[in-house]
């Protein structure tokens, strides 16, 4: 008793640490899938002794790896029985039956070009000892899961365009004949590199903007628009000039994973946190822009992300039966930041984007990729348009808003 009075801090400290540790261990054993504060304490106090005993809870629902092509059947596109489109390999296996041999489509967005030849990425992240002064923690200023080593990067060996059946070789970038290739979301393929990350897989494919006869509109188009997304959408809110007219459901750190857990999102127009599902059931919008996934890079793996995104999109479609839905590709990461955190690299971003693109049907749901406007030939976000490697400078947003305005679907 005298000890406690003499050393209140130390005794209280040890008591709380031991208590917290016990709670954490018990909770971890009972609820292996639950990621919580107690677990963090138990984990960090006992690591690595418990590694063998407890399941790996650091990633929600870790599933099997491997080059699983889950996109074989329900792919996007206008599957009309058009001759030009026969033989188009929608799975991107690399063959080119329509004679666009080696044609590099103009709006190719590549992946990181540094190939080492070996599977796991090069180098250790020295995020702690790097000479960078001010804090760039990667991604949003909010939370991201995971820390550690760099992941693998693929090599954009051959950009073989296996995309919409433009038999005349003009490529899907050209807004041409509606009948032949409208509505198809094509892919660029390349030689994938083996990865050993449980967050993503290199499938050797990059999605392209849905081919469609888009209209160009002005700002009034967005009077009945809703934007859903993370900090990049927040930038759109700040710098597009549409914050008075459109609805913005976005915040730093927004992720589909959090929505599946019932998380709320900030309705920037009022500044209050709202339940997105409820909001979309109450309000009716003519267009919905969705840009999410950047903060999901460290949650689960791509297959899971596909499921979560699918249910998210279902929710939007059901509650907004008349709205056009635009799925916007996540922006790539700059050279300096690519791979600084294991799961934050362009291969992972492309993996998630490709998954998102599979949901575009070319009739109501469209996939828009603005990356070619902001990336270099190797697919990295250009260094001179970003401060932290993830977000654009405010002055670059007009380029983006112009892109959005020139890729509109009028009903």
């Amino acid at each position: 008793m005298r000890r406690i009075k003499q050393y209140p801090f130390l005794t209280a400290f040890f008591a709380i640490m031991i208590l917290g540790f016990l709670i954490g261990v018990i909770k971890a054993a009972l609820y292996p899938q639950d990621v919580s504060l107690g677990r963090y304490f138990a984990w960090h106090l006992t690591q690595p002794f418990w590694t063998e005993l407890l399941p790996d809870y650091s990633v929600e629902g870790r599933s099997s790896l491997g080059y699983v092509d889950t996109y074989s059947s329900d792919l996007t596109g206008d599957l009309r029985e058009d001759e030009e489109k026969d033989g188009n390999d929608m799975e991107g296996a690399g063959t080119d039956p329509t004679g666009i041999d080696g044609a590099v489509v103009s709006n190719v967005s590549g992946t990181s070009a540094a190939a080492d030849g070996d599977a796991s990425g090069a180098g250790e992240s020295s995020a702690e000892t790097a000479g960078e002064g001010t804090g760039v923690s990667g991604e949003d200023n909010g939370r991201d899961a995971g820390e550690g080593n760099t992941g693998a990067t693929g090599d954009l060996a051959d950009a073989e365009a296996v995309a919409a059946g433009s038999a005349d070789g003009s490529g899907p970038a050209s807004v041409g004949d509606n009948a032949t290739h409208s509505g198809v979301t094509g892919f660029v393929t390349y030689e994938p590199v083996e990865t050993d990350s449980y967050y993503y897989t290199d499938r050797g494919r990059i999605a392209l903007t849905t081919d469609y006869a888009y209209d160009t509109v002005d700002d009034s188009y967005f009077a009945d628009a809703a934007f859903i997304g993370d900090s990049r959408t927040l930038g759109l809110h700040d710098y597009s000039g549409w914050k008075e007219s459109a609805a913005f459901y976005c915040e730093n750190g927004f992720s589909i994973y959090r929505w599946t857990k019932g998380g709320k999102v900030t309705f920037q127009n009022t500044g209050r946190d709202v339940d997105l599902t409820g909001e979309l059931q109450r309000k009716k919008y003519g267009k919905i822009y969705i840009m999410a996934g950047m903060n999901d890079l460290g949650y689960g793996n791509t297959e899971l992300f596909g499921e979560w995104f699918g249910s998210f999109l279902e929710m939007v479609k059901e509650s907004q039966p008349d709205a056009v839905i635009y799925l916007m590709a996540n922006l790539h990461i700059s050279r300096k930041q690519d791979g600084v955190k294991e799961e934050m690299n362009n291969v992972n971003v492309n993996d998630k984007n490709a998954t998102i693109a599979t949901f575009a049907d070319g009739q109501r749901v469209f996939y828009l990729d603005a990356n070619p406007l902001f990336c270099d030939e190797a697919g990295y976000l250009k260094d001179d348009i970003t401060f932290d490697g993830f977000h654009l400078y405010a002055a670059n947003y007009p380029v983006w808003t112009d892109f959005i305005k020139s890729h509109a679907v009028e009903r």
Binding site: L10, Y40, T134, G135, N141, D238, F387, A394
Partner: protein
């Protein structure tokens, strides 16, 4: 290894403390010396040998000086130490990174040598004591810049006690909280403003960003210094304090007596006074100040903006010394306003290394940015909605009141529980991977 990292807090520190406490008193210095080298080697597996090399070189020359008392024997190691610092920090040789903490331990080596010059010792200080003084991990990487006399007694006589461990642990927990809960959080605001870019940055946001950085750098460095002092106390040493509520100063002369106190002390005792200080006439005083502030500037970083930053303070200090210093002392309110207005500007110069970006940012701060504004007042309001409470708390902790409150209630049980709560919360924030930079790490 960062103090504000879980590896340090939950691995290195408990294991080290165990060995340190268990070891009988007379061998503790050895444990501290070895432990500190391990601590350093984890972050710098190669440069730890540079550190060892400098230790041995300095000590050999020092022993030679004790035997022979020729000043050259001290000047040589000082020159070599400075040369090493210049080579690794300023020459920016490609492939050669800067060793962690070199700016700090170089200054401590020089301080040791120059202090020993004045002492009339018959026998040299023991190598272990000297080496432990230089490399002890609480202050190796980011200060405070300790003088040998401040730790000599504790090194020579085992000074560990449970009482000090208790007090030190408290201080460490508070330092960690300042860094993680205040500095890291307000740093995200500065980061957001920089992310928006200087093109189209409105007046309000330029100032908001500058204020955010002002708070970030203070709580970051204050937090780290408190952690260092706390760790030192846990081991039995009383390291000197580094901050005395600098933002409550009424002039920059006063500010620099309260900010990074041990650095100001170092420059005063080992550069300013040897050059003559203020005892050789006005012109010479100004010249001495110029040297000191130019060096202070570039000590902080190998960049022109740092030189500019140091020279800016030179100008202000000379003006205060010869023009309006006494006026500010008389009208304290004006003094406070003067400091509060110019501080964010000075930190912006410190914080932006690219001169053209810096120039653009400063123009935004005086309302002469571009015509087209992207990050305007509405964006400012949005930031304020999120950050106003945090900014208020930062403002509160920049005043002397929290410290007085602490002094009054620090031994109460509820205060301990409060501090432990903040400690746990800080560990949680670190664990979930939120922004955790360390600004003074490039030293």
């Amino acid at each position: 290894m960062l103090f504000s990292g879980l590896v340090f807090i939950f691995r290195f520190l408990p294991i080290f403390l165990f060995f340190y406490i268990v070891t009988p008193g007379k061998y503790r210095n050895f444990i501290l010396f070895v432990g500190s080298l391990i601590f350093y080697a984890v972050g710098e597996p190669v440069y730890v040998f540079l550190l060892l090399g400098e230790l041995i070189l300095n000590y050999v020359c020092y022993c030679g000086f004790i035997r022979n008392k020729r000043h050259f024997r001290l000047i040589l190691p000082i020159v070599l130490d400075v040369a090493a610092l210049v080579v690794f920090k300023y020459m920016l040789i490609p492939g050669l990174s800067m060793p962690l903490g070199i700016s700090f331990y170089t200054f401590q080596l020089i301080a040791f040598l120059m202090d020993e010059r004045k002492k009339a010792r018959k026998n040299p200080v023991r190598f272990l004591n000297f080496a432990t003084y230089i490399v002890m991990f609480p202050q190796l990487v980011a200060g405070p810049i300790v003088q040998f006399k401040e730790v000599h007694h504790e090194l020579a006589n085992n000074a560990f006690s449970w009482e000090k461990l208790e007090k030190g642990a408290r201080t460490f927990a508070i330092g960690l909280s300042f860094k993680v809960l205040l500095a890291n959080q307000v740093g995200t605001l500065w980061n957001s403003v920089q992310t928006a870019g200087t093109v189209g940055l409105g007046f309000s946001n330029a100032w908001l960003g500058a204020v955010a950085y002002t708070f970030q750098i203070y709580f970051d460095f204050l937090g780290y210094s408190l952690m260092a002092i706390g760790l030192g106390r846990m081991l039995g040493f009383e390291l000197p304090e580094n901050f005395r509520e600098p933002y409550s100063a009424t002039s920059f002369s006063e500010f620099w007596r309260r900010w990074h106190v041990t650095l100001g002390r170092w420059f005063r005792e080992y550069v300013y006074i040897p050059l003559g200080g203020s005892r050789k006439g006005t012109l010479r005083t100004i010249l001495n100040l110029l040297v000191v502030w130019a060096l202070t500037g570039i000590w902080h970083g190998a960049g022109w903006n740092f030189l500019l930053w140091g020279l800016g303070f030179f100008l202000l200090l000379v003006l205060e010394k010869f023009l309006y210093g006494r006026f500010l002392e008389k009208y304290k309110i004006l003094g406070h306003l003067y400091v509060i207005l110019l501080l964010p500007v000075s930190w912006v110069i410190f914080g932006i290394t690219d001169l053209s970006v810096l120039w653009d940012y400063l123009r935004c701060m005086i309302g002469m940015g571009d015509d087209r504004v992207f990050a305007g007042f509405s964006v400012f309001l949005r930031y304020m909605r999120s950050y106003a409470p945090l900014l208020m708390i930062c403002l509160l902790f920049a005043t002397p009141y929290p410290r007085r409150f602490w002094e009054k209630y620090k031994d109460k049980l509820w205060m301990s529980l409060l501090v432990i709560f903040f400690f746990c919360f800080s560990c949680y924030e670190i664990a979930i991977g939120s922004s955790n930079p360390f600004l003074y790490f490039r030293f």
